[in-house]
């Protein structure tokens, strides 16, 4: 094998990376990172209070000093890629800038330490934040009402589909099926199943869009609704959305929109206007709340009037300028989470909305779509576009041109790491032949300079695929660790440290 040539990588150089063991391996008896405050009440004897329920020891829990903790987690942090370091073009994930002011306001004492059981008259500030955010989101979506309770996108989906279920139950109709396009996220069918529905696959046409004829053929009085992502996971807007909505509504069905890709729509068009009955938003995508290495998220569900009676309890109401919760909701699907949702994410999402205003929200969408189309234009001669329909906020290529040399989407992704970028989404959506999707979502947060570096990296990798495919197949070469043995991790799982 010829030596790997990294000379054309422009964005990054290698630097020292500290080694760091598990925290348990640094532990030794007697070290401590805490000192308890003086106790101002008499000490107690645990054994006499708890009897047989008293615990003897916390075996295995670490004993380390404060500075070792700082070093431990600082070192770990340097092993992560992050949006703060560079472009993070994961398609459908909307990795955009997480504004720092959001982190400041959410930590304000009155908000961070507010108990959820404070009587409403003592919690007007928090309720006002929720109400203002709710009003903004309703306006942005063109819907009639909203719940902020769901904790994430999939949780929002579950809530939304349960609302549909309750709507039909209330009408005395027993519909059994939910239609889901073959390009959908895995959460959609998993959600429909949790809500007791049978999933019926809806195939895409040769443009990657909903096949209207197939929909017409499959739509009947047994179908409760269609779960549609729009723009879909190929980044393509369903131009015949009004026909889709009509087909659903004519047969009494409801249109659910997965709002994962709302970053392409905000300020330009509203789902409520094009016939959506119920939808969820991902505040951790479109509204910039941080992904935090896998969460927390927030998945508000916006609805049209006819679903309002079924919203999760409680709902926020305003009377004479005073906000409170209404728990008397006899038709409600019930509560989907303790208290009122991930309030900290509501604060951040509102701070984002206020920082943008109507003009900023629109410009954000325009820049996100411009960035995706710029990448498309600059890469379309070296990567195959499996579907030719116009791209909105993300562009999906395939690995077809590279696969001829044995280089697949996952390999190109690994090589992109050497070039200083987080990979795009690989192998999804499934409608791209051979599962060879290269799904790129730059978001509005990237300056032209960063996009040009990314384009350059992707073009270099395309060249390498032809000239030295081995370089790609063995990538990454410069990361702290090489490709992981996932097979053994699955065959003989080690899911915890043991002394």
């Amino acid at each position: 094998m010829s030596p790997v040539d990294n000379s054309r990588i422009k964005k990054v150089r290698q630097h020292i990376s500290q080694n760091e063991g598990l925290i348990f391996e640094k532990s030794s008896p007697g070290k401590a990172a805490y000192r308890l405050s003086a106790l101002d009440v008499p000490e107690v004897d645990a054994e006499s209070l708890l009897g047989a329920q008293v615990r003897d020891d916390l075996d295995g829990m670490p004993e380390v000093s404060e500075f070792e903790i700082i070093r431990h987690f600082t070192r770990l942090s340097t092993w992560n890629y992050a949006i703060d370091l560079g472009m993070y073009p994961l398609g459908s994930c909307t990795m955009k800038y997480n504004a720092r002011v959001n982190e400041v306001v959410v930590r304000m004492d009155g908000l961070a330490n507010a108990h959820p059981y404070l009587p409403p008259e003592m919690a007007q500030g928090a309720l006002r934040i929720m109400k203002t955010l709710a009003d903004c989101l309703i306006e942005i979506c063109g819907m009639d009402a909203i719940t902020l309770q769901p904790a994430a996108g999939a949780h929002g989906e579950m809530t939304g589909i349960m609302l549909i279920h309750a709507y039909f139950d209330n009408k005395g109709e027993k519909r059994k099926k939910i239609l889901i396009p073959d390009s959908a996220h895995g959460t959609n069918p998993a959600t429909a199943a949790m809500c007791g529905y049978t999933v019926e696959n809806l195939r895409s046409n040769d443009q990657g869009m909903v096949d209207i004829e197939a929909l017409a053929a499959q739509m009947n009085e047994d179908v409760a609704g269609l779960m549609l992502t729009n723009p879909n996971t190929l980044g393509v807007f369903e131009t015949e959305i009004h026909k889709i909505a009509d087909l659903l509504h004519t047969k009494g069905g409801l249109l659910y929109m997965d709002g994962a890709n709302m970053n392409a729509l905000v300020g330009k068009v509203r789902p409520g206007d094009f016939g959506v009955d119920v939808m969820h938003l991902n505040l951790h995508k479109t509204f910039s709340t941080p992904h935090g290495g896998g969460g927390p998220g927030s998945g508000p569900v916006a609805i049209k009037k006819h679903l309002e009676p079924f919203l999760p309890s409680p709902i926020l109401i305003e009377k004479g300028g005073k906000l409170s919760f209404d728990y008397n909701r006899p038709k409600s699907i019930g509560r989907v989470k303790a208290w009122y949702g991930n309030f900290g994410m509501h604060v951040r999402a509102l701070a984002y909305t206020l920082a943008n205003g109507p003009d900023g929200l629109r410009q954000t969408t325009e820049d996100a779509v411009l960035n995706a189309n710029y990448i498309r234009e600059k890469l379309k001669d070296v990567y195959e576009l499996p579907f030719n329909a116009p791209s909105m906020h993300e562009v999906v290529f395939s690995h077809k041109l590279q696969a001829a040399k044995g280089v697949k989407t996952g390999d190109i992704a690994k090589r992109l790491i050497d070039y200083g970028f987080h990979p795009y989404t690989t192998a999804f959506p499934l409608v791209v032949a051979d599962h060879g999707a290269i799904m790129i979502e730059p978001t509005e947060s990237e300056p032209k300079e960063e996009l040009d570096l990314f384009i350059d990296a992707m073009r270099e990798i395309a060249r390498e695929a032809q000239e030295s495919p081995e370089t790609i197949l063995t990538a990454p070469h410069t990361a702290r660790v090489k490709r992981m043995d996932e097979t053994t991790a699955n065959r003989k799982p080690i899911l915890r440290w043991k002394p």
Binding site: Y34, P62, I69, R270, H291, G295, Y374
Partner: protein, 441 residues
């Protein structure tokens, strides 16, 4: 707009490169009749200063510097400053789910440490990378027990947090899962006789919470015996994780669902918090949510990866163990750092302080009012029955900047004027004495 890193000239140059003259050409796929012509009706763009001022005003409309003697599912504990210093590193809080292991080892190792510490604390063998919170975790636990046993009924104690019970009912309403609630005995614990009668050969799981909603420790071993005798699994919810510093772990359980909010997570008006589900190794393939596993890379270096992913929605779709995708990653990191700070001796010491505060408070209150379920062991919460409506007492306490206990009337009308009070290490003797005087009525 200050977050957008492009000049107008950049935008025009990019448009030219893609052969367009106006940005709206890129929005041509939107049917014209639906395109927005004007501005959205949302507040105008604000400066950073204006944003800070706006939220400061909202924050000041809340009560802030009061002492919380209110727990009931969220607990006010001291948050060491190290936590925010570390989680504010962009490499943690602006990273995505660690799908690309080579550039996500930081998150992966931290979650592996989280899973380990949760196992050690709960007495379980495997723990997942987190769930939204305990309320949804209880529901996931009930569904998991259904899959493990092939049975479909669930028995849940009335001493489980009322909102958690409610969430479980919502989650499972289309699963053909009959739910039976079992009341409590005189000591405030689940009524074991009634429990035994409620379990049938179709019962998948018995769900309890310990310490329960009254603050009482359930006799987990005894409940486990009753459940296991009839082939049902035991799911134990732990809403106050710090109790595990001094209370025996529920090793007899089959599934433990823990809320780790107590470990350094702000109360934050109810979220985000962090749930975690732990179980025995043999049940691992029916677990919901992500799991991190240890392995080696091609050069033999230790590393960590997302593993056993075939359980999850992105692979198994409608047959997945749950639809969960996004979890509570950053909050799990908060809990991990907290557990490192207090560690083996500190968690015990802090738990002992809570025990002492609550014991003192209970006896102080006991002089002026009736403490219910007084004989059963408890951690940092207790139920007080008063002549007066607890709401009236709480209003009086506001003058002393104390937030009083949670009135139980809505959920347990049979207890009359009762409220559940909480005394963590954050509550001073002075406040306890003041509150104890106030309950006299």
């Amino acid at each position: 707009m200050r977050y957008l890193p492009k000049s107008q000239a950049d935008r025009e140059a990019m448009l030219r490169e893609i052969g367009k003259t106006h940005i709206d050409e890129l929005f041509a796929p939107f049917p014209p009749e639906y395109r927005l012509r004007g501005d959205l009706n949302v507040p105008r763009q604000m400066s950073e200063e204006e944003i800070v001022t706006y939220f400061k005003q909202r924050s000041e409309e809340m009560v802030a510097d009061h002492t919380l003697m209110l727990g009931a599912g969220v607990y006010h504990h001291y948050r060491p400053v190290v936590i925010d210093a570390l989680i504010s590193r962009g490499e943690f809080f602006t990273a995505y789910t660690p799908y690309q292991a080579e550039i996500a080892q930081g998150t992966l190792q931290a979650v592996f440490e989280f899973q380990t510490m949760v196992c050690q604390l709960t007495g379980m063998e495997v723990a997942n990378a987190s769930l939204y919170d305990i309320s949804t975790g209880i529901a996931e636990g009930a569904l998991m027990a259904m899959r493990l046993t092939g049975r479909n009924e669930t028995v849940i104690a009335r001493t489980v947090h009322p909102e958690h019970r409610e969430v479980m009912r919502t989650y499972t309403q289309h699963q053909a899962m009959p739910i039976r609630e079992v009341g409590y005995a005189e000591d405030g614990r689940i009524d074991l006789k009634a429990l035994d009668a409620a379990i049938s050969d179709k019962t998948a799981s018995v769900i309890i919470q310990s310490p329960n909603f009254f603050g009482t420790l359930e006799d987990v071993a005894a409940v486990a015996d009753v459940a296991h005798n009839k082939g049902a699994l035991l799911v134990v919810g732990i809403a106050e994780a710090l109790s595990l510093g001094i209370v025996k772990p529920p090793s007899e359980a089959d599934i433990v669902v823990m809320e780790a909010q107590s470990f350094g997570v702000p109360i934050g008006f109810g979220g985000p918090h962090v749930g975690v589900l732990a179980t025995k190794e043999k049940n691992v393939r029916q677990m919901p949510g992500r799991l991190i596993g240890q392995t080696v890379d091609k050069d033999g270096h230790r590393g960590f990866v997302l593993t056993l992913s075939t359980r999850e929605q992105h692979i198994r779709r409608e047959k997945a163990t749950s639809n969960i995708c996004t979890n509570q990653g950053l909050i799990a990191l908060v809990a991990t750092i907290y557990m490192c700070i207090y560690g083996r001796r500190g968690l015990r010491g802090l738990a002992m302080q809570n025990l002492a505060k609550a014991a003192y408070a209970k006896s102080a209150f006991g002089k002026n009012a009736k403490v219910l379920f007084n004989e059963a062991p408890r951690f940092n919460e207790f139920v007080v029955q008063t002549k007066e409506d607890p709401k009236v007492i709480n209003r009086r306490l506001l003058d002393h900047k104390i937030i009083g206990g949670l009135p139980l009337k809505n959920w347990y009308p049979e207890l009359g004027n009762a409220a559940v009070w909480c005394a963590t290490e954050m509550v001073g003797k002075e406040q306890i004495d003041t509150a104890a005087k106030a309950v006299r009525g």
